[in-house]
Amino acid sequence: MNRKRKEQARVLSQRMIAPDIYDMWLETELAKEAKAGQFIGVYTKDASRLLLRPISICETDRDKNALRIVYRIAGKGTAEFATFGEGQSVEILGVLGNGFPVEEKKDKRVVLMGGGIGIPPMLELLKQLREAGTEAAMIAGYRDRQLFLKEDLEKYGKVYIATEDGSVGTKGNVLDVMRQEELTAQVIMACGPMPMLRAIKHFAKERQMEAYISLEERMACGVGACLGCVCKTTRKDHHSHVNNTRICTDGPVFDAREVDI
């Protein structure tokens, strides 16, 4: 098993790919160990901001020790990250979380759903599924015609687009695409805002599909010690012995049936 650790990564490149959305490649040994759906903790350089910012892994290039994160500016910490240029060092903690069940589900028909800033982790997932021999379809839900990562996703599978304003693809959300395109699958893997994940949980239950959803919550330690980022569970959790599970370590990816969201 790989050990979690805190490392100095180096910025290989960074650019803005949509308003407030940044695409940063980091050089780090952690790239070799990363699974789709896992995340890293990124620290700011300003000592007044202590805690890691959990950011999902968008893509890895193992040969180059390169790891890509695509994130939205959500506050002062991520605004600081957006100023990082090539060659700068960044402290990161990783690799964190469990990741999607790529190997376990490789013989199933899989559809991926990403909503907004939940789209980035779907890129590595689509890639790793393809490496495992699974041709998954991808549904990407955007706000408008700022279709960040669309071309990258298209390299690894068929991509369907939904936009809230109807400017591109299906007007509506990722599930509207499922219905409109009459897509079928045995397994859904998804990341996105909570209302989307809740809808997917219900949709999967109705259609008797499996769904793996990636959750997020305010985090402090990122490694399972502080119990800050918990999610209610339908059954008693193996570690906590109450109906709470740790998103940072037992997740962020959960079988939708196991979490009470």
Binding site: R3, K4, R5, K6, Y43, A47, S48, R49, L50, L51, L52, L93, E217, R218, M219, A220, C221, G222, V223, G224, A225, C226, L227, G228, C229, V230, C231, H239, S240, H241, V242, N243, N244, T249
Partner: protein, 301 residues
């Protein structure tokens, strides 16, 4: 060079401990640090039965610190004895179990169950600001603190350290109440009650509305309280509150702490504890200090 310290008859290989609630029972951080290097692991608070804790959000960042309102989620003493103690026994470090409860009976049940357990010391949490019943109520009035301390001392088989709240008017009075009731030591400070409001959503940042402030932002308050408390009592003091590095730790020792605990900074740098152990040794070497006891309470006018 001697870095060993003795608190209530228990010898610690060095004065560096983990602060309760920031380090679980050591499992998570054992991936980052060698627990054998630590003076002690102070475990997350454990109650007589499992507690689910508070709703999320439970944590939020503040300037130079953080607020938490975990609400003492814990798996209960039975699981703790079966799982966490055997894990910690694999390491050459002292085990200090932090005990929490909602009533005196809750605390006593945990203390009694730990009677036969192979642990070195008990730290009694009467200062958590995030649970509605019990806990802090015992730690904010000197007579309540005296009462619960006396009752726990009657049942406890291990030395008892009372963890004090900084949310009081006179910390010296609280320290004296714990000492008078027979406590073997005191530890401080627990977190300072705070609040943060999200101005964009116009909501509280924490579901619990208030939370406990920790991190470097609280360090000067903690040093002051450790100084005042250690001068008010003869029993040893374990100091904590925003310790980020060896310099901070030494400041607490000079203020009068016999040992120190690292809390929120574990989240920022998971190697903090071991770096402090090494940093204290370097400091002692630099200033030709042969025994760490020379530092304890060694601040000069």
């Amino acid at each position: 060079m001697n870095t060993r310290v003795t608190i209530a008859g228990v010898e610690f290989k060095n004065p560096v401990m983990t602060a309760s609630g920031t380090f679980g029972s050591g499992m998570e951080y054992s991936e980052f640090v060698d627990l054998n290097r630590l003076g002690a692991v102070v475990t997350k608070g454990v109650a007589n039965v499992p507690w689910p804790g508070n709703p999320v959000p439970r944590v939020t960042e503040t300037y130079g610190g953080m607020l938490n309102a975990i609400g003492l989620q814990n798996p209960g003493i039975d699981v703790f004895i079966e799982r966490d103690i055997p894990f910690l026994k694999q390491f050459d470090t002292r085990i200090v179990v932090n005990v929490c409860g909602k009533s005196v009976e809750d605390y006593l049940e945990v203390v009694e169950k730990l009677g036969d357990a192979d642990v070195d010391m008990l730290e009694i949490n009467v200062s958590c600001p995030n649970v509605k019943e019990g806990a802090i109520a015992f730690g904010q009035k000197a007579d309540c603190l005296f009462d619960i301390t006396s009752q726990i001392k009657k049942k406890a088989k291990q030395p008892v350290v009372m963890k004090l709240s900084p949310n009081v008017t006179d910390i010296a009075e609280m320290a004296r109440a714990a000492e008078a009731a027979g406590a073997d030591g005191i530890s401080l400070i627990n977190t300072l009650t705070g609040m943060k409001i999200d101005i964009h959503k116009r909501t509280f940042a924490l579901a619990n509305r208030t939370g406990g402030l920790s991190g470097p932002a609280i360090k000067p308050v903690a040093v002051r309280m450790v100084y005042q408390a250690s001068h008010a009592v003869k029993i040893p003091v374990i100091g904590m509150g925003g310790i980020a590095n060896a310099e901070d730790a030494i400041e607490f020792l000079l203020a009068g702490a016999s040992a120190v605990a690292v809390g929120a900074m574990n989240f920022v740098n998971p190697y903090t504890t071991v770096e402090i152990v090494e940093g204290i040794e370097q400091y002692m070497e630099k200033y030709g200090i042969k025994d760490i006891s020379e530092l304890i309470g060694g601040v000069r006018e």
